[in-house]
Symmetry: D2
Subunit: 261 residues, 4 copies
């Protein structure tokens, strides 16, 4: 039985990743975004792919006290000896409701696009989107990629990601379908659920020709950096205990018992 992976291996003198010598032919020659692709596929990405990838990962990095940041800080409060444990706790929340939605949106678009091509008329996209919106409405399911609890008038990241996608050649049929879904939802549900960042990333990844799992991968890589920023901040200016105190202070059970009397 041979257990081996094409990703890499080590000898006494050398380390190989995708059959390329890490020390001699990778270090100093590939940057990290190159290396993400190279480790996963053995190919170095083109400049447009790199620009797009940077924008996607930057989108996922961080934006304040999200549930995953709260979880990481709470974990660090109890276990400061394990930075990796706090990062892991934060990443575990990157699931089907937050961040992982980027993958879900890509999956939806790639499975619904069917035989549509960029050359099809807008009406064809509209028709497909209408069917989808009706089916989701009947099944009372949430459509990934549209709607945002805070950015109710539009997610500010979407037009910028769309522009970067257009500039780099990734504004294709999946973006068209996503835009059609936004329209169909307005008609079908009677309310404006604007395309959100997960939808934008899902469409872009799809128009880059990548499988949906890449969207979750980019989200996890970006968020790992965001969580580490939170944990460094927690070391410098701890919030964890304050968060806990604030939550305990909301529990009037304790009050009844005279804790704060």
């Amino acid at each position: 039985m041979s257990i081996k992976t094409a990703i890499g291996y080590t000898t006494r003198e050398d380390i190989f990743v995708r059959e390329r010598n890490l020390a001699k032919d990778i270090l100093g020659k590939l940057d990290f975004v190159d290396m993400i692709y190279f480790t996963a596929t053995g190919e170095v990405p083109s400049e447009p792919v790199k620009r797009m990838t940077n924008a996607i990962i930057v989108t996922a990095t961080d934006h304040g006290l999200t549930p995953s940041a709260i979880s990481a800080r709470m974990t660090y409060l109890g276990a400061p000896e394990s930075l990796q444990g706090a990062v892991a706790a934060g990443l575990l929340g990157a699931g089907n409701h937050f961040l992982g939605t980027m993958q879900n949106a890509a999956q939806l678009l790639q499975s619904e696009i069917g035989s549509l091509t960029q050359d099809d008329p807008p009406a064809a996209f509209a028709e497909r989107a209408r069917e989808l919106a009706r089916a989701y409405r009947q099944a009372r399911r949430i459509i990934p990629g549209v709607g945002h609890p805070i950015h109710i008038d539009g997610d500010p990241r979407v037009p910028v990601l769309h522009r970067i996608a257009a500039d780099n050649g990734f504004d294709g049929k999946h973006w068209s379908l996503l835009a059609a879904i936004e329209e169909a939802v307005k008609a079908e549900f009677g309310k404006y659920l604007p395309v959100n960042a997960a939808g934008a990333v899902g469409a872009t990844v799809s128009d880059m020709g990548l499988a949906p799992v890449w969207a979750r991968a980019f989200a996890l890589i970006g968020r790992s950096a965001g969580l580490l920023a939170h944990l460094m901040d927690e070391q410098r200016a701890p919030l964890g205990q304050k968060i806990w105190d604030l939550l305990l202070a909301q529990d009037d059970s304790a009050d009844r018992r005279g804790l704060r009397g």
Copy 2:
């Protein structure tokens, strides 16, 4: 009680990271390595810092079937519904023995450097290193940053990282101390324990003026990408079950009972 972090926050129209508008002033303008620093410090790194950081993170990304990759693949075998769970399982092994050693090496160098400056004569570094080697020998402790189980004649990543550090202005007093430690260990322990990649990263991060925690942060960010490459590979060409079968086949208890009879 105010619970807020300087890292960022969201309004109905906008998202701010370090007081800069994510959509208008970050996306498409900062790349991911910029964003790592910007999220953590509010500053955009210089070009030499970016080049060095890319080399460090690329070093940590991956090199085959490491324990963290095995753990991630085993986790995916049981729970394919949670990609983030498999990544988290892999990162949890980035501790004091593997990968986390980058932080430990930086800590050692920064705490031992004392008042030494780059202008001090080699003899001063040699003296400090000798004291350290003796103290660790007496306490029967392992010195982080030197020695490697496979690369017994020298870790191939070290000279390359050293050269990139020199090219970008980060070959300073911590690198000098690290080299002196390698020499002192030879004299004191009577064996050659070459500087390893953890030591090289620890010295570089220290000569970049960063706290030791940055070394573990870079390692975790890089490794998250490596683990995702393994998990995509696992989806395409599963190894997990084979690994398990191989391990079970080693257990002659099963043999005694006739499982493989």
Copy 3:
């Protein structure tokens, strides 16, 4: 906004769990299995429920080098400073393929049982099972609760769990449906896929009147103890490095390069 949970709270003098005083009225009065139910529901279980629960959790505890044990030991190898990290890594594999299947089997049985009652004739169960087997066969889906890769002639835990269920009053309609599914699969798929431990636990939990999530909860509680046994064993007689060495030795890429020459 009130943030409180019915589970418990702390005052300066006392700790309350489900409104009962932990020190005065719980410690020394409830054992751990009582406490599992009491914390989750506020009720102390009956003796039959306790006996059954003990059997279920013991079933899930451990049986050697499973993927979750391998993952925990690999994690400990890299990060011995964090026992909780190694346990977490092991639990992360308790998903839809291993252990978590107990919940999936319970879900299947509870959603398929429909209006069937224990008084219905065997033919009614057989009919329902036949429909289910056909539907799964057409959809090429695996039916949770039947079949085992090693125990191809029957899972040894199943008859014992069935007897304990019968002894304690939990051999009800879900067990009947499960047995009917085993039969229907034989007829429909033409092969013997015996009821497995996940199916037995799923049926039992369902006949205890518990929601499917309890099955995964019991599995996780039991497995946490099994993983801790592995980690104590790893501290005493390390296997982690041997496992890694064995896997590396299978990779003939390394051989080609002369590592073992």
Copy 4:
């Protein structure tokens, strides 16, 4: 190379744990607390050991919105598809500051007890405790096992655990040393830092003759059940989103920007 663990293995017909047949000789015969010991050591515990163990694990199970419960609920909010991920996120916080302190207290007591025996006079314990208190004071270190942020007049769990330890024969020299430490701290630090639950568990585990790691193991097993209770509660009556909203509402940065205007 033989990779095997004494813990257990599987054959086509049977499963063995510690060389005992799981189906025939364990299920229905050992309860879960028996199984915890049996899996880890191959021995079934005595009745006093079981009573004591139940009290320890029940102590660790839960007491409301602790940081680990908050982390588990935040994780579930983002990734409801992975119950095991939310449990893992909660357990990752069982470290050197919370819960893991049980192990730290046991370690302190077992390393400081030296040659003291239960027959030594109180003055001998007092002397040892005084030295320890002085050393920790000089090093400005926190002594694990004494002091509590909320239970400033005494931790209610301690007298009960002490009584159960006495009733079962585990009120030995480690409990004597712990009591002496409480006294010495009063004299040396000039303030009352009462023995806390971590100290009580640490002393008890030590007087049971168990290694310190058992204390953390008991804590993790108990807390796994507590976390599952929280997650079932979260499914029934979600708190996660409310917690997040409450925290966001504290951030006056958002206010400045008009989010809540």
